[in-house]
Chain length 231, copies 2
């Protein structure tokens, strides 16, 4: 679970040139985020792995680009697309940020997390997976068993998930039919089977009767994620 360093030309402890060959792993999703990197030459990809094994590449990084800026643990893995040279920077261990002195710093990090949440929603393959992930994520605010308010319109949900209102409506109705959720008007739902929704959200479509799986893109052997990365 630790980064596989191949030190090349050292300079200082917190500023080091490293080299990786094509295909080598720079760090793994879930590793402690001890460093961040700057590309000196070559190309790097960052990959988020879903529990069903399919990948969402979150970016390609070229000369001058930075990657690996994360709190505590890496959100995604980084791998060398070509032979690459990187400059390593020690990640400043951040104490709980004082909101008054540097409010936009913590806020930036939150904005980044929010953007990533959006990517992980859109990285899902089917309408059922996206909606399940959306409901799970939304329910995290209130608690699993309580009625969950959905103040936004179906159009809003559709535009968030990259679907149409028709597909959103149909899929939610299907959830009701399968007793995964119950409606109390269009804007209040109760989650009946949190586990099934979570399995759906992970792309583990076999869990549900719906058989709505579509994907097949580069399925890797299953990888268990640390809890903090479950979407």
């Amino acid at each position: 679970m630790s980064a596989h360093y191949a030190p090349a030309h050292g300079s200082r402890d917190n500023l080091l040139l490293l080299k990786f060959r094509k295909g080598e792993i720079i760090y793994l999703q879930g590793d402690p985020a001890t460093d961040w990197f700057e590309v000196v030459s070559g190309t790097v990809r960052t990959c988020f792995l879903y529990t069903d094994g399919h990948r969402q590449l979150t970016g390609f990084h070229y000369d001058g680009d930075a990657f690996g800026i994360d709190e505590a643990f890496y959100h995604s893995s980084a791998e060398a697309v070509t032979t690459v040279t990187l400059r390593r920077h020690r990640n400043v261990t951040k104490p709980p940020v004082d909101v008054d002195t540097a409010p936009e710093h913590g806020a930036l990090q939150r904005a980044l997390n929010s953007a990533r949440a959006c990517i992980f929603l859109l990285g899902r393959r089917t309408a059922a997976e996206r909606l399940a992930a959306f409901l799970i994520a939304t329910s995290r605010r209130t608690g699993s068993d309580k009625p969950l308010p959905l103040p936004m319109s179906r159009t809003d949900i559709a535009d968030h998930l990259g679907l149409t209102i028709h597909t959103v409506s149909r899929t939610l109705s299907e959830f009701v039919r399968q007793n995964l959720i119950t409606f109390d008007g269009p804007h209040w739902i109760v989650i009946n089977d949190h586990g099934a929704l979570e399995r759906l959200a992970s792309g583990d479509g076999d869990a549900a009767v719906m058989s709505l799986r579509r994907g097949g893109a580069s399925i890797a052997p299953k990888l268990e994620l640390a809890p903090q990365y479950r979407s």
Copy 2:
């Protein structure tokens, strides 16, 4: 183009409570990013508008969430989903950040931009739009007319765009057939018709003969974006 403030209870100049009614616009994509906000109560949506008018909601923001953290200009609009109360914070005008004193600050911002670029790719509706946007974005590094290296595999591109290698390959072949691009081996392309690709990337599928448009979700009247937001 300016934010439509409806001041409620003032406290200080840089820390102010504001109220918006359901549906009201808090700020518009492209406005100067003078403030960022914290939700006190209610729900806010942030929307990125494509030039063809379709929306990508980049997030819903609830009690305690922050939004509107941007450099110079807002990337997306913010609108009240319900009646909301917000706490406004003045955006610190950032001088070009000194990399040595606060390297992870500028890096955080770059990571955020990179994540957003990923969202905007995934927000596109068809395979042709996504690939066109990907090629345009990639070509921005080298320059339009030079041969463009694609060091990554088709699988990487597919996993980046949420497609399969088959669709990637087919769509690129279609681009070649339409003389939008030319291949020089699988990993070097030349862009022949940058304009057509850009129109495709904007979701303006009518521009191309391909007629691959799918979307229809919440088409708004066309809105011209400031140049810095063209994907």
